[in-house]
């Protein structure tokens, strides 16, 4: 089967079994090894990439399902000469130790800031709950995202519409 899709703004054609995992296609077929595999079952988020702008676990996506989709990996962020706001924030905050979770953390955070996510620590923690880190204890990662959100909002006109805060758990009508 041939699957045509876009990876980091470049048109790609994959040829092979349609049930190959997107993570394997990215790493083995396209040489994009920035995306990491931690658990292979959707629990850790190390393999997070964006499909049509939304973060997903690339270990749970069969490549046959990404026909005509836009995939973004960590390689689409800045270069060492010109870092992305998020990469800069992670560096300055010391948000990586072993660094294995970092590509996934960056991609989920990228969706958060692009979707107009807030700089509230609790909301960021909820959004990033599917990205596990064994090293940092999370605080430095959250701090970096908070900083990046503020930077992003300063730098660009706020993009609205995709994100809404979570609804109330329970309630009571008056009267």
């Amino acid at each position: 089967m041939v699957v045509k899709f876009v990876v980091n703004s470049k048109k790609r054609a994959y040829k092979g079994p349609p049930f190959k995992r997107l993570i394997d296609v990215l790493r083995d077929d396209f040489g994009l090894t920035g995306t990491k595999e931690g658990c292979g079952e959707g629990e850790c988020g190390a393999c997070t990439v964006l499909i049509d702008g939304q973060p997903v676990n690339s270990c749970l996506v069969p490549v046959g399902q990404v026909e005509n989709c836009k995939v973004e990996t960590v390689e689409s962020l800045g270069s060492s000469a010109e870092l992305h706001i998020l990469q800069k924030a992670f560096l300055e905050e010391g948000s990586a130790q072993c660094g294995f979770c970092t590509p996934g953390m960056l991609m989920t955070s990228l969706a958060w800031i692009r979707n107009g996510g807030s700089d509230k620590s609790q909301e960021i923690r909820e959004y990033l709950a599917g990205n596990l880190c064994r090293c940092t204890g999370y605080q430095h990662i959250i701090n970096a995202v908070i900083g990046a959100v503020r930077e992003y909002k300063k730098a660009k006109a706020r993009r609205k519409g995709l994100f809404l805060p979570s609804p109330r758990v329970s309630g009571e009508r008056a009267g």
């Binding site: 049930f19 959707g42 996506v61 069969p62 709950a129």
Partner: protein, 278 residues
């Protein structure tokens, strides 16, 4: 492995009719875990993910019709669901993680029939209807009738879930609640998951209670005995305590890796008590 891709509902029905042994694929969040451990080797896969007709949320006069391929992320963002079916919006926002919510669908959640399916207690108290299609024609099932046992549905061979229809609760309930109890606050399979709706009469007696629990029986359970018991009564401490006691008649919690039967019963009783006392 053979990979069939349907682009329209008709094509899906035809392909599934020709290959009743095929395994449907929606967001693949459950199916890929099975694939990764080799359980799908040699199987035929019927990919539904390109069927746009099943990705819409239709606002009808008396109900909302959610296509089976609508994701948990889309459900929790939908303004009408957030307003009129907040328990479902809440359940969807607590499934797995952001990443799982972006792929996982409501149809896949139902067809998977896990005792811990988080959308089930809300759908059970909203009296949802499940629309299915197959070469035999369409069918409508009451939500609770879809489940036969742990991971087993009563869907016929070659039958697909097309949509979930939920009638607007009328009148608007006086109280509502969704609670998921797990070991940590995110990324966790429920130990117990509950949803409740309560309507009161003018004289402060209960008009109607609907309360459903997941993870405390092989399939999601409505507390029929307790619901019938409180109807027409004032929610005095004695009435609430009795309702919590007789709840044990409707559920059959088990010991497993996530929790014990005793703990689950206790938590379930606490959830009902806190809802009725509020």
């Amino acid at each position: 492995m053979k990979f069939l891709k349907a682009h329209t509902p008709d094509e899906a029905v035809r392909l599934f009719g020709q290959h009743p042994e095929a395994i449907p694929l929606a967001g693949a969040t459950d199916a890929m875990v099975a694939w990764n451990v080799g359980r799908l080797n040699g199987k035929i896969i019927l990919d539904l993910s390109a069927i746009d007709e099943w990705k819409t949320i239709q606002i009808l006069r008396n109900s909302l019709k959610i296509g089976s391929l609508v994701t948990h992320a889309e459900i929790q963002r939908h303004p009408v669901i957030r307003k009129k079916f907040s328990l479902l919006a809440q359940a969807s926002s607590q499934i797995g993680s952001t990443q799982v919510q972006n792929r996982g669908t409501i149809g896949g959640n139902i067809a998977n029939a896990s005792p811990a399916g988080d959308t089930f207690p809300p759908l059970a108290v909203y009296n949802a209807l499940i629309h299915t299609v197959s070469f035999r024609g369409p069918r409508v099932l009451a939500f609770l009738d879809v489940f036969a046992w742990v991971k087993k549905t009563r869907l016929h061979p070659s039958e697909l879930i097309e949509a979930v229809e939920i009638p607007y609760p009328s009148p608007v309930p006086k109280r509502w609640m969704f609670r998921k109890v797990g070991t940590r606050s995110a990324m966790i399979i429920s130990k117990t998951v509950a949803a409740g709706l309560l309507w009161m009469n003018k004289d402060a007696t209960v008009n109607k209670l609907r309360f459903a629990l997941g993870s405390v029986a092989p399939t999601v359970k409505r507390l029929k005995t307790a619901e019938a018991f409180v109807a027409g009564k004032r929610l005095t401490p004695d009435v609430v305590e009795h309702a919590c006691r007789i709840m044990a008649d409707d559920i059959s919690p088990i010991d497993d890796i996530r929790s014990t039967a005793e703990y689950r019963l206790q938590v379930s009783q606490n959830l009902l008590r806190s809802f009725l006392k509020f």
